[in-house]
């Protein structure tokens, strides 16, 4: 129904465009001065017909479900609704929906069947009403907009105003996204902190979130102290940076100072390919190659390495971050004014001395900024750790043990049953909030360092 309504709106807008354009042509044919081209008369009428109807349909679809649900609940006999809990009513609603769409599991009670019939008929009525109302709105809009057209009417300016308004709305989408992220994280995390005190979450040493969501499940008591999760994240991110930072920076040094054009023409695309590999691929690489390799290497020297050790996940994450660090360091080194480099070389310093004594110190803020951005990526990276790191939160800094991270916990808590009144689900949002705040802080810090450095030379 929705698809046909949208098609109807598009078709009617085209008709409106054509009607408006025809009027514009008539004004032009009548002689005398016309302010706007016929096209703009058409466009003016079309936007005033199409946009309000489109907004109406969107609102209608968003509201329809809630309104019909409350109508259905009201139609249930008082004996059922009186004293029933919110959850019970939700249960009935979903049963009614199932019956209405023909998915019958057992013989439903007659009240439910009756309500399902109501539901179907209301849905049909609502669908038809939506089309009728949208059509009426479009016809009225067409009439009003067309009556405003005249030879001296500033159709182009009016149309451009609408266009500017649309553009402003589109650039607000980015703000709305941020607001949505912050609001949803804060809202669910606040609900979580009602159930589990924030001090326990931030400073507790035990993390055992697999509690029962339904009463018939067998599960642990539950503990929501996130310190082991944080230390696990820090451990894996540290391993990743230990791998990525030297390789990335040395790659950048070689490319800037030593590499011939031919080497650069090969290495740069390779780094771009490495940067474009999806993280799920790195995750599979970790479990297919790196983890078994580290395990057997540990076996050779007689150390028992956990099958999903922090080392394997961190090392592969490091590989993922190499191109990131190398390209940011490359940019930072290239941004050092040429005169400084030439001056150093002219004094007789070798290329290496110029790099270490002149270019690196000058580019250091940029490189540090890049490394910080790399850390923020390592903390927020999900798929590699979900596939290669462990699930059990243990408080350890031993790289060959299995640890878990914030992102792993978010994914494992939210895969499967999600109930928005269980601390298990809400805990994921509290972790998400911590993740969002820490990566945001790192990004802001990194950008600030980079910007401060830039001011020195411009």
């Amino acid at each position: 129904m929705l698809g046909y309504t949208l098609l109807l709106i598009v078709a009617f807008s085209l008709v409106a465009y054509w009607v408006g354009k025809a009027s514009g042509r008539r004004f032009a044919a009548a002689g005398g001065k016309v302010h706007s081209l016929p096209v703009y008369h058409g466009a003016f009428v079309a936007v005033w017909v199409g946009i309000p109807a489109f907004v109406l349909v969107l609102l209608w679809v968003a509201m329809q479900g809630t309104v019909i649900d409350s109508l259905v609940i009201a139609s249930l006999p008082d004996s059922m609704t009186e004293g029933a809990s919110e959850g019970q009513i939700q249960l009935w609603l979903s049963e009614i929906r199932n019956v209405a769409s023909g998915r019958l599991f057992s013989e439903p009670p007659p009240e439910i069947v009756a309500a399902a019939e109501h539901l179907t008929s209301w849905q049909r009525i609502a669908g038809i009403a939506m089309v009728v109302v949208a059509l009426a709105l479009m016809i009225i809009a067409l009439g009003v907009a067309r009556s405003r057209l005249a030879a001296r009417f500033r159709a182009r300016n009016r149309f451009e105003q609408v266009l500017t308004g649309l553009m402003v709305f589109c650039s607000l989408v980015a703000i709305l996204t941020t607001v949505g992220i912050i609001a949803s994280l804060l809202y669910e995390a606040w609900a979580f902190f009602q159930l589990v005190p924030i001090t326990e979450f931030l400073f507790g040493l035990r993390w055992e979130p697999q509690i029962a969501i339904r009463s018939d499940q067998v599960a642990g008591e539950g503990a929501f102290g996130a310190i082991p999760v944080f230390t696990g994240t820090i451990l894996i991110a540290t391993i990743a940076m230990v791998v990525a930072t030297p390789i990335g920076i040395f790659t950048a040094i070689y490319l800037v100072e030593y590499a011939s054009d031919r080497v650069r023409a090969v290495v740069k695309p390779v780094m771009e390919i490495l940067a474009g590999v999806p993280t799920v691929v790195f995750g599979f690489f970790a479990i297919l190659v790196v983890a078994p390799a580290i395990r057997s290497a540990g076996g050779l020297v007689g150390i028992g390495v956990s099958p999903n050790s922090a080392m394997a996940a961190g090392a592969v994450m490091g590989i993922m971050i190499i191109p990131f660090i190398s390209s940011l360091s490359d940019d930072a080194l290239k941004a050092v004014p040429r005169s400084m480099r030439d001056g150093s070389l002219a004094l007789g310093a070798t290329a290496g001395e110029t790099m270490v004594r002149v270019l690196l110190p000058a580019a250091l803020p940029g490189i540090v900024g890049g490394v910080l951005l790399g850390v923020s990526r390592a903390i927020g990276e999900t798929m590699i750790v979900v596939m290669a790191a462990g699930l059990i939160a243990s408080l350890t800094f031993n790289p060959i043990d299995s640890v878990t991270t914030v992102t792993v916990q978010i994914v494992t808590l939210l895969i499967g049953d999600t109930e928005f009144d269980s601390p298990k689900t809400l805990a994921a949002f509290a972790l998400g909030l911590v993740l969002f705040i820490s990566t945001l802080a790192l990004n802001v810090l990194a950008l600030r360092i980079v910007r401060k450095y830039r001011e020195q030379y411009e």
Partner: protein, 428 residues
């Protein structure tokens, strides 16, 4: 101080100076060597990644199949209702005709393990499509089950003691006997692309994931392309420089660096929980991916708009065009190739994105491709994640093959982007 330095003569040819020079040059070469080592490490790791994927994945592009004559006797299949027949018995009989010497029930069960568990449904579908074979025999090629597929491809070694592999010596003998009659073949595995997911590795394919990813990318494009361009035009061409537009810009730059999983949390809390959209739907996946791609899209479009020289704008304005006309008629068409290139690269990133899709449930086990935007579905990267988690041996090579397919799509998209850039983009 300078005087004293200048007045002392440095003996450049002295042994001390020469050794100092050698040390300095050695340090220089050392730095160069570190660079070479770092680059070789990076390239070597990428090579290892690709080699390990190809070496495990190429096996999944062929599939061991066996061609058998299935006796469709009326005793088991009623001509009036071909869909209701006892096809288990048909399969059994077809194998027993090949191996009349196998008589005891446990042995017969072992024999039945050679071909895929779903063979009975394949025969059923073939009979339903062509009921005239009832009473005669039907010649059909069916996949062998995963252990024998692995055996045929050499992943399961015959040298391993019997207790440590999933096929018995007896079964291997039967399989070799079948092979000797020429019934076994390993054709290209079209099912990998044209069938949907399955619990049995020999039957699992990517069509559901490919269709799901296509729908999600379509939604992502439909939303992020116009919104991104409109936002970029406003910020670049119209917006006054004030605190609000500064806020929007800082915001966009920060959004581009937010971890992808946070967008998944947003989708779960807002689209699924608040708006009540269905779980696992490509529509929701596409919307989340669109929010993620939007910052990239805006940044790329702004860069392309900036690259159009001011002379074009001034010429248009000088001829009496309004600012909207100047942008719509002149600047935007000139910037479009750059915008398209950036869009394709943004979509390629969205195609590989996994974490947010996991949170909105696009990792469900679904055995048919989605019929619409609201039906439950998987996507290519989430399918890889599901298969990587599966314990069956056959899924290892399927996972690598799925990754190769995903990388193939990514390479294709990037190649199109590079082609567009070289063909259409102009430098001023």
């Amino acid at each position: 101080m300078t005087d004293s330095l200048l007045s002392t003569q440095v003996e450049w040819s002295s042994e001390a100076a020469a050794s100092r020079r050698r040390r300095r040059h050695a340090a220089d070469r050392r730095l160069q060597a570190y660079g070479i080592v770092a680059i070789s490490l990076a390239i070597g790791l990428l090579g290892l990644l690709i080699v390990s994927l190809v070496s495990t994945g190429y096996l999944a592009f062929v599939q061991t199949k066996v061609t058998l004559d299935f006796p469709i006797s009326e005793e088991w299949v009623d001509p009036a209702e071909p869909a209701e027949g006892n096809y288990r018995q048909v399969i059994r009989q077809a194998l027993l005709e090949q191996f009349p010497e196998v008589t005891s029930p446990p042995q017969q069960r072992k024999l039945g393990e050679i071909i895929t568990n779903n063979a009975q449904f394949m025969v059923r579908d073939a009979v339903v499509a062509n009921p005239s074979v009832i009473g005669g025999t039907l010649r059909l090629t069916v996949p062998v089950s995963d252990p024998f597929d692995q055996l045929n491809k050499g992943t399961i070694s015959r040298d391993v003691p019997e207790g440590q592999r999933r096929v018995t010596d007896e079964q291997i003998a039967w399989f070799d006997q079948l092979d000797a009659t020429g019934a076994v073949a390993t054709p290209f595995n079209w099912e990998l692309f044209f069938s949907a997911d399955s619990r049995f590795p020999e039957l699992a394919g990517l069509s559901g994931a490919i269709v799901g990813s296509f729908y999600a990318l379509l939604i992502c494009f439909v939303l992020s392309f116009p919104i991104g361009i409109a936002a970029a035009i406003y910020l670049e061409e119209f917006a006054p420089r004030n605190r609000w537009t500064d806020l929007i810009e800082v915001n966009i730059n920060n959004l581009a660096a937010v971890p992808s999983i946070v967008f998944g949390l947003l989708g779960l809390a807002v689209f699924l929980n608040f708006f009540g959209l269905p779980r696992s739907a490509p529509l929701v996946g596409g919307m989340v991916l669109a929010l993620m791609t939007l910052p990239t899209m805006i940044i790329v479009t702004r860069a392309s708009l900036k690259a159009v020289p001011p002379s074009i704008r001034e010429a248009a304005l000088g001829m009496g065009a309004s600012r909207h006309q100047m942008i719509m008629h002149h600047v935007l068409p000139l910037a479009l190739p750059g915008i398209l290139t950036g869009t394709i690269i943004g979509l390629a990133q969205a195609l590989g994105e996994t974490a947010p899709l996991l949170l909105i449930g696009m990792n469900a086990f679904i055995t048919s491709p989605p019929g619409g935007l609201l039906e439950a579905s998987t996507a290519l990267p989430t399918q890889i994640f599901i298969w990587a988690d599966s314990p069956e041996r056959g899924f290892v090579s399927r996972t690598s093959a799925a990754i190769l397919v995903l990388l193939g799509f990514l390479i294709l998209m990037n190649a199109i982007a590079v082609f567009l850039r070289q063909r259409l983009e102009r430098t001023w």
